[in-house]
Structure formats: C-alpha cells, structure tokens
Amino acid sequence: MSIITDQWKKYCVIGGWFLVILLSSGCWDRVEVNDIAFVLGTGIDYYGEKEIELSIEVKLPGTTEAGGMGGGNGDQPTFVQSATGKTVAEAIANLQMRFPRKLFWGHNRVIIFNEKFVRELGVKQELEYFSRSPEARTRDKVFVTQGKAKDLLTAVQHLEDSTAETLRELSGTNIGLDVSIRDVLLGLKNEETEVAVPMIAVSADTEGTAEGKNEIELLGTAVFKGNKMSDWMNMRLTRGLLWFKNEINLATVTIAPEVDDGYISALMIDAKSELIPEIHDGQWKITIKAISEDDIIQNSTELDLTEMDVLQSVERQLEVEIKNRLVEVVDKVQQEIKSDVLGFNEAFRREYPEQWHEHKDDWNQFFTTIEVDYDVKVYVRRLGLSTGKQESEE
C-alpha cells in the first residue's frame, strides 16, 4: 500500500471520530438564556406543621433598560412565586411545575429565613441543599427576617431592581454582618464560632416613599446556638460585634468632651482588631486589642485640637467610648445570649488546643466565665482644616 492511501485512511478515521464526538454529544446540556428563569433570591418560611414554604424572586425577561423594547417604565422587573414541600428539593420541584423555563440558581444572591423557622427548625438542612447543588453558590448571602420571608421578597425598593439586589448591596456596605452560606455551614461545625446572621425587616417608616414601595432595613444580628437561632442583638451591639470579627469599617464615633459643650465626631479610616487568648494558672483570659486611625470629621466644641494635650485627651475619650461599646457587647453575650459569637472559641482552640479540648463540649457555658481585657488604641491622624471654633468666627 502506498503512502498516500495510508494517509487518506488516517484522515478518514480522525475525521470520522471527530464527527462522532460532535454529533453524539451534540449540545447535550445546552440551554439557551431565553429558556432560563433566573432566580435572584430565595425565601424560606414555615408552612403548616413540618412543611416549608419556598419563595423565589425571579427576573422578568425584557425589563432591564438594555432590553429596550418591552417592559421598563417603572414596572417591577421581578416577580415572586412560592411552593411548599417537605424539603427544599421537593419545594423546588413543585415550583418548577409552574415555570415554562428552567429555574436557574446560578445567579441566586440571597437566602432569607423566617425568624420563627430558624428558631424552631434551624438552617442546616436547607443550606445543605444549596451547598450540594452544582448550580447554587455557597457565596449566597444569608439573612433572617422577623416577618415572613415571602413578604420581604415581594417588597419593592426604590433604588435597586430587586429585593435580592438590595440585600446583596446592603451586606456589602459592612454596616452589619456579611454572612454567606459557606460561613454559616462552617460555623455549624462545633469547633467554630457560633453563627451570627444579619437580621432584616421591611422598614416601618413609609414616610417619603412612593406608593407601593418599601425600603428594607437592617435590624441587627440573629445569634445562633448550634443550628437554631437563640437570640438577637440590635444594631448598636452589632457594630460592637464587628470589632470582635475584625470587620469594622468606616465607623463614626462621637464623643462629648467634659471640658466643653458640643460634640466631636471621628471617622475610623483604618481599624484593626485582634483577640489574644491567655491561660495563667488555670485562669482564662482574653484580650481584645482594637487599634484605629481616625479623622476628625466634625467638631462643634471650642477645643483647639492642634494642641497636643487636647488632642491626646480627645484620643483617650474616643478610646473610652469604643471600650464602652465593647464592654456592652461582651456583657450581653456572656450574660444574656450565652452563645459564643465573639470568636473566643476559635482563638483558644488555635492557641491552647489541649485545654480547649476539655471544655469543648460545654463551651457555651464555660466561655461566660472567661475574663475579658480591653486594649483600645485610637490615633487621630487628620484634624481637618478648620479646627475649633476660633477660625470659623473670623
């Protein structure tokens, strides 16, 4: 056989295989975007005795401005549907029956739990479904709402197109906690810090809002004991809690100096915190070291901050103010909530794994007895151009 026929044979075989691969696989899991219903947010509520009610916020096609043609003009670009089931999977299967398009969870942003639901049933089984599903992301944000999750999804906001988007942006501002499915599932392992999830509600203040629109506000933080929610703390305490989680960012601290009328407000440009555990002679102690660099952003007093001793006294007062906030949080957590959301667990496990192991099982009891020390440092870096009243009077 000559060379050319061999080559021909080779090409024929290769070409044949190529065709077989292309034709037999031929677009086997191809889904056009026109055949997808994008789920943006998910809400989980109680239904009946043991069943759950799953609500989803779905994007309406043709409603973004880029779409141009139909929709737009103030029409709500999303709609909400819900279905019940014994498990999330069953509820989703029931929901899918009502949709001519495939529900797609790849762009789900938030999962909202009803407060009663998490107090009684917990979050583990529901989140476990989402962590398994190849479509859903463990980056989705988790929230707890006082009312019904479905009501929250149905609420229409002024600024964002959907509740899901509003919530995602809200958790991005770092005013409250920023918690994803992954964080929650990690927290549920008992070596970790207890789970704390931001709590939200439809704002009761409807003054100034347009007809049919409701803003959503952060209420504080839902604190878990194991799988279930046990208590909650308000926004003021939540801000303090952020110090323990080293997530504090762009906070404003206001003090009223004793020597003069008026207030001084400082904006934290850079803030860091650290938990330093110690065990001395069986005495457990933890130090929270909080360092911040501040700008003075408002000064309604007569004090001249350019003078070194004045500035230093202001710094000390700012430190006291921050410390008070931290003490408040520790008192609340150790005496009322009794669930270690502060991260003492993790700090001791890393530093003293053996001693920690002895108290591992009754940690939530034991940690209330740990002594807490505060080491707060504030450095005011920039005073602003107009310092004190003298200049403004000129």
């Binding site: 292309l22 889904v31 880029a66 043609m69």
Partner: protein, 524 residues
C-alpha cells in the same frame, strides 16, 4: 473500505501515467531545442528562423542596415526596448563606420557604447534573450550574434505601500520591477556582503526570482535549503510571489502562513540583518522572508521605530488581540449556552433581556453574524473606493441597527462580532489576520456543541499544530518553544536598541554579535 482502497489505487496509477507522459514531452522539447543549436553564417536564414520561432509575432522588429558593405540586422521586441538609445549608441556609430570586415569583438570594443553586452553562439540563447527584453545584433558571415542590453518598459513609480502603512518610518514600497526592488535593497544595505542571486522560474514565463541574504549573517545551510527548494519548482508560470510561496512552504496544509511577505524594503533589510533570507519575484511587489515565526507575523516595523516602551506595550496588546480575534465569539457562545453562571448577574440579565426576541440559538446567531462580517469585509476590499463606502454604510446600518431592532440578532452579539473583527484587523500582517479569522469558525462550532470544553479542545489542537510547525527548519513558535532565553528580548517585549546585542540564535549564522555592548545612553 475495500472500494475506497481500489479507488485510491486507481487514482495513484493514473497519476503516475500522467507524470511519465509529461516527462516524455519535456524530453522531446529539449531534443528539438538541441537540434538547431548553432547560428548560421547566412544572415537571412537566421532572420527567417527567428521569425519562425516567434511565430511571426508583430512586435518583433527587424532593422536591417549595412556596416560598410556587409549586411547587418538588429532584432528586438519593440515594447521592451529603449529605442532612442539603440539609434544613438548602436545604429548610428555602426552605420557611420566605413572600415570593412570587422570582427565582432572589435565592434563591441570600439563601436557599440553599451555597458551590458555579450556574444552568443547558439540560436537558443538568441531567442531567449530576445524574449527577455534584450536586443540581438546579427552580422552577415558571422556564426555568432551580439546581445545588447538596453531594456525599457513602462513601470509604476515607487509609492507608499497601501497594505502596511506606518506613522513613523520610511514610506517607500516595492514595485513590480525587480531591478528597482533590488536597488532599493542595495541602497539600504551598502555592503559587499549583501548577496543577490538570480534564477529563472516558470517554464513559459521565465520569471526572475532573486535570493538575497547577507553573507555570513545568514546561515549557509538556510541559503542552500532556500535555493534547493526554489530549484525544484517546475511550473509553467510565476505570476506573483504567492505562487512561489505555496511551492516552498514546509506544511502546505497548515492554515498558518509560514512565509512572511511584505511590501516594505525597510522590513526586508531588518530581517536580512537578523540572518533571514529574502526571495524577490519579478512582477510582484511582495517580497518573501524565510524562515518566519508566528511572532514575526505579529510584529510591525513601527515597533522598532518608536521607543521601546511603546513597542513592548503594543506587542502585548497585539497578543491580546489575537486571543480576542480567535476566541471572543466562541467564549460568548459557550458561556451563553452552557455556563450562564460565569457572568456577573447584572451582565447576564441584560444579555438575556436583549436575547429575548432573538429566534436563533446563540450558536446560529454567532455564525450568522460572523458570516455577515466576512461578507462585508470581502465586498469592501474588492469594490472600488467610492462604492466601498456605500457598503460600509449599508453594513453598519443594516447589521448594527436594523437587525437588532428587528430582533433577528441581539445587540451584544453585534458588539462581540465588531470587537472580534476590529481585533483581527489590528494584526499587522493581513495573511496572519485572515487565517486567525477563519480558524474562529470551527472553534465557534466546537463552543456551541461542547461549551468551554470544546474551546479548550480547539485551542489545544491549534497549539499542538503550531508546535509541530516548521518554517524552513526553524520552529514556528521559536524562540518561546523551544525556549531560547536570549531571544525572548524581541518576542515578549521589544528590548531597547542598546540591549539587542546578539542576533537571533535560530537564524543568525556565524556572525552572532550585532553591535557593541554597553551602548546604553546617558549623561556622561
């Protein structure tokens, strides 16, 4: 299978028969030529024979006259001859001569004031030189003829090359006349080391093909290889350098050009200095450079004329453009039909919205738009300039506006296709750009059927092919694969002039050093 085998065998046999037949014919022709090898002493017989050889063509002129008392005749092709100078330098001095019985040598030495002149004995030579634009002087009683070289023909003047324009750099381009082209090269490289070797190619056209290189800088083996590849060409005619290019390539099935061609003498000169070999073909303004790597296809002469920082940045952008031109539409199709989760939510939502009215799957939509783009491009090139503008307007309006408004295609797809098209135009060599543009179609189909996996398969296939490709023995991906650390300075970046001390290792011959080192400028 058996049927196929028998079919192929038959084809093979037929081909062999045909080849043998051709061989026979050629031998017969050679024998015929050998038969009338000598010129006759009878001038009239010679004239008659020449007339017959040219089949009485009307543009062959015979001017008979007398030198003293002996008869003479000058023969030439009228369109290829500088007739003024024939009268001035040949006819007039000969006709005014009174002495008899000159020897031919004496005529050449004393009477004919032309620099290019020779004496030939065979009829065959006379015929070929006449066809090549030379003039033959026949004399009564002599068995040889004088060939005079006073050619002249209409030619295009030197212009700026239209396909490779630069902002900074020389503006002259090669023309169709090989002598002018060689002179442009000589003017740039004024060294005796610049070697010009001429040969004829094409059995009928007898086209001049010139191999140019710098002695010592170009590898000797490379020069031999180029010569041997040129010598084995045996076709009837060479109309453009493209004919030669196709016959000397290493891998004729590859979609990638393995020979670089350019209209710019400065580019040729620069490559010669790096040890490449240039092949010039008469009648074509495109001069070829071998060997070539994929990187030299992505370089522009301006990279070297602008400052090196600009050159480096632009090179990197070009590499990016290649990736965009090759993969952007396929990535779009793959992500839209298989991996919707890969785009940011707001982006996929707005794309989904714009696709809401589109009746086609993304794959069909992409192929449709890419086809439209190629049609517009092709139409734009061939049409006269005035109509070309109209095509541009119609294309922009119909595709950009009407098709989107009518809901036939989505606006993002138009953007994707436009970005891809513009990127492919940013590749400086037209032939490299077009092969990358064509490769994008199979990859779109792969992306539409296998998603990102398909794109990966396609890219792997292309990279494997590129790795195996050679251009005159030099690896096509060199100096990156195989790695030549010293040569990367001119591929991943454009090293400053004062850093380019050595010639590329793959092409440079024995003369490695290019310039004195330590030339970095600075205040003294």
């Amino acid at each position: 299978m058996r049927f196929l085998k028998r079919f192929l065998q038959k084809r093979q046999q037929k081909k062999q028969q045909r080849l043998e037949k051709q061989k026979n014919q050629q031998q017969q022709m050679l024998q015929q030529m050998a038969a009338d090898i000598q010129l006759s002493t009878d001038i009239n017989e010679n004239i008659k024979n020449i007339q017959e050889s040219f089949h009485q063509s009307s543009d062959i002129l015979f001017r008979t006259f007398s030198i003293g008392s002996s008869q003479a005749c000058i023969v030439y092709v009228s369109g290829l001859t500088n007739e003024d100078r024939i009268y001035e330098n040949v006819l007039t001095p000969l006709m005014e001569a009174t002495e008899e019985a000159h020897s031919l040598q004496e005529l050449i030495e004393k009477k004919i004031s032309v620099s290019e002149i020779k004496q030939v004995q065979t009829f065959h030579e006379v015929i070929n030189d006449l066809a090549g634009g030379f003039q033959a002087l026949l004399l009564e009683g002599h068995q040889s003829a004088i060939i005079i070289g006073l050619p002249k023909w209409e030619k295009r003047s030197i212009e700026e090359p239209t396909a490779e324009q630069v902002v900074r750099g020389p503006r002259e381009g090669f023309t169709e006349t090989i002598d002018d082209n060689i002179s442009m090269l000589r003017r740039r490289i004024r060294s005796p080391r610049l070697t010009i070797q001429m040969k004829k190619s094409g059995a009928i056209t007898n086209t001049a093909v010139v191999v140019a290189y710098i002695n010592g800088v170009a590898n000797d083996k490379l020069v031999t290889e180029v010569n041997s590849r040129l010598d084995r060409i045996n076709i009837d005619g060479v109309i453009d350098s493209g004919y030669i290019e196709e016959l000397i390539e290493d891998n004729p099935y590859s979609p990638f050009p393995q020979v670089l061609n350019t209209e710019r003498p400065d580019v040729i000169a620069a490559y010669l200095l790096e040890g490449h070999v240039a092949v010039l073909v008469d009648g074509s303004p495109f001069v070829m450079i071998v060997p070539t790597t994929i990187y030299s296809l992505l370089q522009s002469s301006e990279d070297y004329y602008e400052r090196y920082i600009i050159g480096t940045i632009i090179r990197w952008m070009r590499y990016l453009f290649v990736v965009i031109a090759l993969l952007f539409p396929s990535l779009y199709v793959a992500i839209l039909t298989f991996h919707q989760e890969m785009l940011p939510t707001t982006l996929i939502l707005s794309i989904a919205d714009s696709r809401e009215m589109v009746p086609f799957p993304a794959l069909i939509e992409a192929l449709l738009m890419e086809m439209m783009f190629e049609i517009l491009r092709e139409a734009g090139i061939r049409l006269p300039k005035q109509v070309g503008q109209a095509v541009g307007i119609v294309g922009a309006l119909i595709i950009g506006e009407a098709a989107v408004r009518a809901g036939i295609v989505s606006a993002p797809m138009v953007i994707v296709v436009a970005v891809t098209g513009i990127s492919s135009f940013a590749i400086p060599r037209f032939n490299a750009g077009i092969s990358i543009r064509m490769l994008r179609f199979p990859i779109i189909i792969l992306a539409g059927s296998l998603g990102l996996l398909g794109i990966m398969l396609g890219v792997i296939a292309i990279v494997v092919h590129l790795c195996s490709l050679r251009s005159f023995g030099m690896p096509y991906l060199g100096p990156l694969a195989p790695l030549q650390l010293k040569d990367i300075k001119d591929v991943l970046m454009r090293a400053p002039r004062w850093k380019m001390d050595t010639r590329p290792h793959l092409t440079g011959g024995t003369d490695r050093e290019r310039q004195a080192s330590n030339q970095q400028p600075g205040p003294n």
